[in-house]
Symmetry: C2
Subunit: 111 residues, 2 copies
DNA sequence: GGAGATTGCCTTGACAATCTAGGCATCGCC
DNA sequence: GGCGATGCCTAGATTGTCAAGGCAATCTCC
């Protein structure tokens, strides 16, 4: 299976990260692992993208953080969706769906 | 209908531009109009993105250009797909499909 | 005890691609 | 004359991603 272009996530990463928290609080490392596993490693967030993204989302008021203890007993920062974050996730999901449909339609068009 | 984020095309623009030429040579302005009209204005390429993209694609050997005369009798630069450009279009189309499916699957997942 | 992998967070710098906002010339139409 | 459409182009800012590192604690296996 060919690798996706490394930049591919551009513009979708926020939605994916928000989605990761839609089942409850998650810490960064868990978010990365979740995306990787749930897509069979097809989608991967680099840590150098993930953490800045989390700060960005927090700054925008879409998520909130608390230090806690991971499943393995380690210090970890848990992020959770705020009300506004949940709205944003829904907004972005709808937008993605529209966008993806449009692109797919265009690329599939035949002569 | 809400506007898509302005950055949305990031990473897909090349494929769309290549696709525009899959029916034969097209000039820049026509490409922009084609995308706009064929997606009901849902997808738009700004000229400031389009022309640099065309130079990029040409530099990579995916398209070739010739000056000619537009349908309305004006001077216009017509771009056409090269063999390699056609391969690239197919490659990117497949990749897009895989990527879009993965993202859609993740965003659609329920608790 | 020691080595290496895993878990977990973080930062810096480079880079690519898009957009915004302009400019220019020609043509058709009112 | 003016204005919109057609057509090409560029400079600069922005932004979001990545690559590549670093740090510390824990676990596993020898």
């Amino acid at each position: 299976m060919p690798k996706l272009r490394s930049d591919r996530l551009h513009g979708t990463l926020d939605a994916l990260v928000l989605k990761a928290m839609s089942w409850g609080p998650r810490h960064g490392y868990a978010i990365a692992r979740w995306l990787e596993q749930s897509t069979d490693a097809e989608l991967r967030i680099e840590e150098g993208s993930l953490y800045p993204a989390l700060y960005r989302l927090e700054e925008r008021g879409w998520i909130e953080a608390d230090w806690g203890t991971s499943e393995l007993g380690r210090r970890a920062k848990f992020y959770r969706l705020t009300e506004r974050g949940d709205e944003e996730l829904r907004r972005e999901t709808v937008e993605w769906t529209r966008f993806a449909a449009a692109v797919t339609r265009v690329l599939a068009a035949t002569a």
